[in-house]
């Protein structure tokens, strides 16, 4: 059990000597890997470690098996995404958002498109809204399936990982049919979506989603939820108490597992989430096992939302009619001079958005993915700041890992379910 820090305390960090020793001697093993002041061992975990879900490096200062200090070292995947958005413009930025949380690319697409639209108050047609909602929830299933699979694999249960990937494969197939790409979908555009659903897609998704809760119960829950090894390994590990979770600004399943009922889909509904019937699962203890349970339940709720959404996808266009923002239909471009000019302007200058600024956050699978967009009337944002949930989740790592056993690092990391593509951006 990790103690709660007193009010106003600063998160722990490795001592300068420890950090210098770790970075000067690469792997941090051997005689040089000892902090000369305290005699603690400095151990580098990552950046290439199977359980760090990307390229996270953690400098662990250890007293025997106990962790005295843990300092995450991030930035290995930094690509300057915010600057890219300022340099390339709105629509060109959407393919880059696939590479944020690359376990749910379509959810990021929806987030960035909605954030840009919210600045000038563009309302997408109802069909696009329902499709975006269904796909965002498919993205949640996509991400949680991998989160659970990798979680189980990191604590030693490989079979669940394979079962989860079988389910993910179906979601890939749906995405391929919808967008033409399996993974980096780049599906939304400012003012709508890139492609409409192909025939039979809705029925296929409905069949898949109807069967998914049963398959998750059979293949994941039956193997893990009451599995003694799994439970003993996770109960009381990586505990984040309620007040600590709130003070670090955690969001998503990690926050809800700590007992805080906060879900942007309920608190600040977007895409018409207020019209859907679903529950927000909340944990009690905030340990790794609760985070596992919350994710399982969230998947079932997502299935419920998708089934409701698929029943009420209306007919109609999938982009807004204002062709200063969205590309006009190709046939009208070839016959109509005005539309040709609109198309030329949208492609070369970008969508015409009035000056303004707005913060807009959506409930991504990992937490609140927010975009602060400042438009200045040109085709490019003056500033586009991204608030990624993984970065915030990782910020509590020094606190969570302090005093833990070394073997629990892997279980804690897996249960936090972060993704470095979004953390480093």
């Amino acid at each position: 059990m990790t103690p709660v820090p007193p009010e106003g305390s600063v998160p722990v960090a490795a001592s300068p000597a420890a950090l210098a020793a770790a970075s000067a001697h690469g792997h941090g093993l051997g005689a040089e890997g000892f902090d000369p002041e305290s005699g603690h061992m400095i151990l580098n975990m990552g950046p290439s470690h199977p359980s760090t879900h990307g390229v996270l490096r953690i400098v662990l200062e250890m007293d025997g098996e106990r962790i005295v200090r843990a300092t995450p070292d991030i930035g290995y995947l930094h690509r300057g995404m915010e600057k890219i958005a300022e340099a390339y413009g709105y629509n060109k930025f959407i393919p880059y958002t696939d590479r944020f949380d690359y376990l749910a690319p379509v959810a990021n697409n929806v987030g960035v498109a909605m954030a840009i639209e919210s600045v000038v108050g563009i309302e997408v047609p109802p069909r696009a809204r329902s499709l975006r909602l269904s796909c965002a929830e498919l993205g949640r299933l996509h991400s949680h399936l991998l989160g659970l699979g990798c979680f189980a694999m990191d604590v030693g249960a490989l079979t669940v990982f394979l079962y989860c990937f079988r389910e993910r494969e179906s979601i890939y197939d749906f995405m391929e049919a919808l967008t033409g790409a399996r993974f980096t979908v780049s599906w939304t555009r400012v003012g709508g979506c890139a492609r409409d659903v192909p025939p039979g897609w809705i029925e296929g998704v409905r069949r898949f989603v109807q069967g998914l809760p049963g398959r998750v119960e059979r293949d994941v829950e039956k193997m893990l939820t009451t599995n003694r090894i799994f439970v003993d390994r996770l109960k009381g590990v990586g505990v984040i108490p309620k007040d600590v979770a709130l003070s670090y600004g955690l969001t998503g399943p990690v926050l809800r597992a700590s007992g805080v009922e906060w879900d942007l889909r309920k608190e600040r509904p977007y895409l018409g989430y207020e019209e859907y019937d679903f529950d927000v699962p909340v944990g009690e203890h905030g340990d790794a096992y609760d985070r596992y349970l919350v994710r399982i339940e969230e998947m079932k709720q997502s299935c419920k939302i998708i089934l409701q959404a698929l029943d009420r996808i209306p007919e109609g266009p999938i982009t807004v009619e204002d062709h200063k923002i969205s590309l006009p239909v190709k046939r009208s471009v070839l016959t109509n001079m005005e539309q040709l000019i609109h198309q030329f302007m949208v492609v070369t200058e970008g969508p015409e958005l009035a000056a303004g600024e707005r913060y807009f956050g959506i409930e991504n699978p990992k937490g609140e993915l927010g975009f602060y967009v400042v438009t200045d009337g040109t085709g490019k944002p003056m500033r586009l700041r991204v608030r990624g949930p993984s970065f915030v989740t990782l910020s509590c790592l020094p606190h969570v890992l302090k005093g833990a056993m070394f073997a629990d690092v892997v279980a804690t990391l897996a249960s936090l379910d972060f993704v470095m593509g979004e953390c480093d951006r």
Binding site: Y96, E176, G180, A181, T184, L340, Q343, V347
Partner: protein
């Protein structure tokens, strides 16, 4: 549990465990396996919606550079031959001297497809482009030898017009005069 009880328990649980393995094995033997021998066999993909390596028609291209401007990674390089005044030719008369796509950069996002006014660039069904160097990742589309973009009705109509007016042969000759070979002509 006695000695023989233990033995029986071992046999019973082994059989139980092997039941799944045997059933999958039997299915693989009778109905064929789940796996594909990848380079020889391929999974079916939808040739219309798949976002793979581009299809392009060098003769229909008017070198307006709309696709290059729409590209989020700037991987499309376009040059056309200069006219009598020394300016690059644009429009229906343009002769492409360079249309390269750098596939080490390309994201296959599909943003280059809708802007094209002559619908001469599309994402195709091919996805394999092995090579040893970065130079091999750059495809020189102006030399032809790649499937012609003809997915839409407008593209098909334009191809018919181009054939009827003999523009394919004319442009091929103009490119040949500039020393650009045509590996496979667009009009078949």
């Amino acid at each position: 549990m006695g000695y023989f009880g233990n033995i029986w328990d071992g046999i019973r649980t082994t059989a139980q465990g092997l039941k799944l393995t045997t059933s999958v094995f039997a299915r693989a033997v009778t109905k064929g396996s789940y796996t594909l021998q990848y380079p020889e066999e391929n999974l079916p993909i939808d040739p219309v919606t798949h976002r793979g390596i581009h299809e392009y028609d060098v003769d229909r291209c008017i070198s307006c550079e709309a696709c290059a401007k729409a590209c989020p990674v700037d991987c499309i390089y376009i040059e056309s031959a200069p006219d009598a005044k020394g300016k690059p030719t644009k429009g229906k008369v343009s002769v492409m001297t360079r249309f390269d796509i750098d596939y080490s950069k390309c994201l296959f996002c599909g943003l280059c497809v809708p802007p094209c006014p002559s619908e001469c660039i599309q994402l195709g069904a091919r996805y394999s482009l092995p090579g040893h160097t970065r130079d091999e990742m750059v495809v020189h589309f102006h030399e032809g030898g790649y499937p012609v973009a003809e997915k839409t009705d407008h593209a098909k109509k334009m191809i018919e017009e181009f054939r009827a007016e003999g523009l394919y042969a004319k442009k091929r000759a103009e490119r040949a005069a500039l020393g650009i070979p045509t590996l496979r002509p667009a009009d078949g």
